[in-house]
């Protein structure tokens, strides 16, 4: 049985300065952690979500490896995992957005060796944003540029007050920057959403549009920015907002110095999906004929942006990649995990730091329940409970180091606070990969 021995308690207080929080896509790297006896007792500067992430972290008192729900040694788990992944005709590897890049790279390598499909949680959050970039490109910037230059800050279908609590204070609204020396006073904030979210009170102007009418609203703005005359009644009927409001916003957007629009899943996962994002990215592009304007997705998971990058540099595509022919092919809908499972196609799987059993459709869950799969997670979840092999792994950013990418593609290192008796997901994946290579006769690195 895998031993999970917690390091001895000494009562000594350790301070970890400039630690990185991986709870959301903001990846704040200015957290000072006070650590005592394998417990974080204080997380200075962390937001409400970050505090919950750090302060409630306990070492899971459960075996590092379970096979069919029974405690097993790690070695047995690695062997069985490699057998599962090499034994099927359609293996799929999914998740990755809460693992450091170092582990993600190994996972993509395994998918390659087993002719499998590799997909990340991007396919159920900002996958449509990635597809929109393939259509029109993207004009964007890093969060430091927002801080130094942004004077019109917009949020569309995104509620950072609840999803990214330090977004306003650390990056987008409050901070004083080189060309925004008065911080919030130098900025105008406009929020567009279908409901009055908690973020709305941060806005100078809140615009509530009809649900499922993001595309129409964005297309209205595009038309106005490009000098196209619109019929007021039609605009009001389509968007739920008067033409005059859109005219005012279009003028603001054209006349600001450096505009930024952050967008969220309110845009990417509602009616229109990638067409919505494409409209927003096209609008941003158009605005650069008048001023400087950029767009940025507010990515959710701590390292989902890293997953996009790792999968892209290794395969050429950022999610939904199938290796069945021995080389990467990309087709969202065909090779994205929720679809593959719902159609009952995959016959084995590995779920890394994700919980499809909790959030996929019933047909997808029903199929996953039927096939042998491996699960890696720091906590027990519905997905680990139904796994043929479940590994309890150390938590990245708290127990293990590595690299994560902030929502603006900026790579940031992790500073672990204290060790875990459980292996890291990188260690588990490396061990599985070693066995997969042996089974498949791979000599390469």
């Amino acid at each position: 049985m895998a031993s999970a021995t917690t390091p001895p308690e000494t009562g000594e207080l350790k301070i970890v300065k400039d630690a990185t929080c991986t709870f959301c896509g903001c990846v704040c790297d200015d957290i000072d952690l006070s650590v005592q006896d394998n417990q974080i007792v204080k997380a200075q500067r962390a937001c409400v979500l970050g505090k919950a992430w750090f302060l409630n972290h306990d070492i899971e008192d459960r075996p590092s490896c379970l096979i069919e729900g029974q405690p097993a040694t790690l070695e047995e788990g690695y062997d069985r995992a490699a057998q599962i992944l090499t034994g099927g005709r359609y293996p799929i590897i999914y998740g990755l957005s809460d693992s450091p890049c170092e582990a993600q790279r190994v996972a993509v390598g395994i998918a390659d060796w087993i002719d499998g499909t590799i997909d990340t949680t991007t396919s159920v959050c900002h996958g449509p944003s990635g597809m929109a970039v393939q259509g029109v490109g993207e004009v964007t910037c890093t969060l430091g540029e927002v801080m130094n230059r942004g004077d019109l800050i917009m949020f569309w279908g995104s509620n950072p007050a609840e999803s990214h609590p330090r977004h306003f204070t650390r990056y987008s609204l409050m901070p004083k920057g080189m060309f925004t020396p008065n911080g919030r006073k130098d900025r105008t904030c406009v929020i567009v959403d279908v409901r009055k979210t908690k973020s709305a009170k941060a806005a100078d102007h809140f615009i509530q549009i009809k649900p499922r009418r993001d595309f129409e609203a964005l297309w209205t703005l595009r038309a106005l920015v490009n000098g196209v005359e619109l019929e007021a009644d039609e605009v009001g009927r389509q968007t739920g907002v008067e033409l005059a409001v859109w005219q005012d916003l279009a003028e603001r957007m054209k006349s600001c110095r450096f505009g930024v629009v952050f967008f969220g899943m309110g845009l990417t996962m509602t009616r229109g999906k990638h067409c919505n994002t494409e409209a927003l990215l096209a609008l941003t592009r158009d605005l650069n004929a008048h001023t400087r304007f950029v767009a940025k997705p507010n990515r959710g998971h701590g390292n989902v942006t890293g997953a996009d990058n790792v999968v892209a540099w290794r395969t050429g595509y950022s999610f939904g990649v199938n290796h069945a022919r021995g080389y990467p092919r990309f087709n969202p809908g065909e090779y994205t995990t929720s679809d593959v499972l719902a159609r009952g196609e995959a016959d084995s799987a590995m779920m890394i730091a994700c919980d499809p059993m909790a959030n996929f459709s019933e047909p997808a869950r029903a199929h996953l329940r039927k096939i042998p799969y491996v699960a890696l997670d720091a906590k027990e979840t519905p997905t680990t409970r139904s796994a043929a092999v479940a590994f309890t792994v150390a938590t990245y950013g708290i127990n293990t180091g590595g690299t994560v990418y902030r929502l603006d593609d900026v790579p940031i290192p992790l500073r672990p606070a204290f060790p875990s008796p459980h292996p890291s997901d990188q260690e588990v994946l490396t061990q599985i990969e070693r066995r997969v290579r042996a089974i498949k006769g791979i000599r390469g690195q």
Partner: protein, 553 residues
């Protein structure tokens, strides 16, 4: 196998750095390096490669390409359409699978370079904030020793140090940045222009003496001061310059002024083909070549080196740290456009592009590139490049070799291009043909010298055993596109197009010393204006498979 001894016997060796030009000799390799022949006749090699009748050169060095980091990776993400119809890279028992298109995936990049006999490559434009990303990609790019240049020409701290006339601060910053990011050289991209692009619509600088908003420095000052600072720091490759006004008609005067701004200090002007145009601004009808005028200056000023940035006909992806250029090109071509403004100040522009031989402008660009190779008298100061993937893929290098070694082929292709190219460039009148020795200079010995890599680009004792063996052929494209064998650090990695093994290769970087007192000023600046913590910025060696510090001159 440190004690193994490899003998490459009887090859026809081209090793210009050591004055060897086509002599038949043996090479001995041990511990990944070239060694002296054993003096003891009893010592037998553990392996002998019969290279008789074959041409032996050092491994190729690409000193200017875009193969890693955010810009390259976004281009991969943005362009699935070109991968589906291109060659596929299937997985084997020794190699990963991958995709091609104009921007191959990391593993495919390494295999394809190795397949051409190239064993070292430098990414030319890494945003300082993304240095860690570039190193991660390097660690997944096999078969090559790699390094990168760091974008500094629009950096606020650099401009402020120049504005306030604080050369020590500038020295400290450049040294600190190169050391912290594990970079190889300072890179200037449209110095000053990218900052202006960030501050106003369509913003840019248009000449060396335009003032940059807010910082009130000129491109000329940035070029001169960074070149001088790099000289004081004794950097092996002092400064790598992408001039202002790339691609614009009439930009040759800007290029000439840039050369003059160096004031005799060493400087490398990159993809100079894109900077050698005559004609009126925005007037395609007057677009013409000004290579003759610029080459004359290069020929008489030994402090200047260049690489060409050859254009090849076909479809590719334009990617640049020159934000306003990306905007300009996206408006010209009307395709999808990526732009990225990054703190620690750099920019980025990406857009698909297609060079057509029937286009007067594109044909001239092609001709101007070849003119450069043919008009610089000293081959040690001109380097082969396509600015991959901007002018075309690195996979076009064998074709460029043929253009240079075979004037009939060159003239035949010229005949297929727009007829007015003959009047507007001197290409039709140039009958120079390169020798194999000169090819060896512009593809390995020269770039090694320009980069200050003492162990590369030659086959003398102590050199890295990066060796390429070619089968001679009348058609030089055929000869260079499929080497007989390629050795990386003494290991046989490619044999007639087949990958034998794919070692990861080293990361080459510099580690100049700097003033620790002045570093505090950098820290204060960094924490005031940037969104990550200063302590989290430096990249540790743990990101590198095998780091190697290239010493100062």
């Amino acid at each position: 196998m440190a004690d193994s001894l490899l003998k490459i016997a009887g090859g026809t060796i081209y090793d210009p750095a050591n004055g060897v030009s086509g002599q038949v000799a043996d090479l001995w390799v041990s511990g990944g390096r070239i060694v002296a022949p054993p003096t003891d006749p009893e010592v037998r090699p553990s392996r002998v490669i019969d290279a008789s009748g074959l041409v032996v050169m050092p491994g190729g060095i690409d000193m200017h390409c875009h193969i890693a980091g955010p810009k390259v990776n976004i281009a991969r993400k943005m362009r699935p359409e070109e991968k589906r119809r291109d060659e596929v890279i299937p997985r084997t028992t020794v190699t990963h699978s991958g995709t091609m298109g104009s921007v191959p995936s990391t593993f495919a990049t390494g295999y394809k370079y190795a397949g051409l006999g190239y064993t070292t490559a430098f990414d030319a434009a890494i945003p300082p904030l993304a240095a860690r990303h570039a190193h991660e990609e390097f660690d997944d790019t096999p078969c090559l020793d790699k390094g990168f240049y760091l974008l500094m020409g629009n950096n606020h701290y650099v401009m402020r140090s120049i504005q306030e006339n604080e050369p020590q601060k500038l020295d400290t910053f450049i040294a600190w940045l190169l050391s912290s990011a594990k970079g190889f050289a300072p890179k200037l991209v449209n110095p000053g222009g990218v900052e202006v692009w960030k501050t106003r619509q369509g913003g840019n600088v248009h000449g060396l003496d335009d003032l940059v908003d807010y910082f009130e420095v000129t491109p000329r000052q940035i070029i001169a001061q960074v070149a001088q600072s790099a000289g004081r720091l004794n950097l092996p490759h002092p400064v790598h310059i992408h001039c202002n006004n790339l691609g614009m008609p009439g930009n040759w005067t800007t290029t000439l002024e840039t050369m003059k701004a160096l004031e005799g200090h060493r400087g490398h002007l990159t993809h100079i083909q894109f900077h050698s145009y005559g004609g009126g601004e925005g007037d395609e009808n007057t677009f013409n070549s000004k290579v003759t005028e610029l080459a004359e200056y290069v020929n008489t000023h030994e402090n200047i080196t260049i690489d060409v940035g050859q254009v090849l006909f076909g479809e590719t992806t334009s990617m640049t740290g020159d934000g306003p250029l990306g905007y300009f090109l996206s408006n010209v071509y009307g395709g999808k456009w990526f732009s990225g403004d990054t703190e620690m100040e750099s920019g980025c522009g990406i857009t698909p592009i297609k060079y057509k031989n029937k286009s007067l402008v594109h044909g001239l660009q092609w001709a101007i590139g070849l003119e450069w190779y043919l008009q610089v008298e000293d081959p040690w100061r001109v380097v082969m490049s396509t600015d991959h993937p901007n002018g075309g893929s690195f996979l076009a290098y064998p074709q460029i070799v043929r253009f240079l070694m075979d004037r009939t082929y060159r003239q035949d292709v010229l005949k297929t291009c727009h007829p007015r190219i003959r009047d507007r460039s001197s290409l039709a009148d140039l009958d120079r043909e390169y020798t194999l020795e000169e090819i060896a200079i512009i593809t390995r010995a020269g770039p090694a010298r320009i980069l200050g890599l003492k162990n590369k680009g030659h086959l003398g004792v102590g050199a890295d055993a990066d060796i390429t063996i070619y089968t001679p052929h009348e058609n030089k494209e055929t000869m260079f596109e499929l080497p007989r064998m390629v050795f990386k650090s003494g290991n046989l990695i490619v044999e007639q197009g087949e990958m034998r093994e794919a070692p990861m290769g080293r990361t080459l970087h510099v580690q100049p010393n700097y003033d620790n007192e002045l570093e505090k000023d950098i820290q204060e600046w960094f924490e005031s204006y940037y969104s990550i913590r200063y302590r989290n910025y430096p990249v540790s060696e743990s990101y590198m498979h095998e780091p190697e510090v290239v010493p100062s001159n």
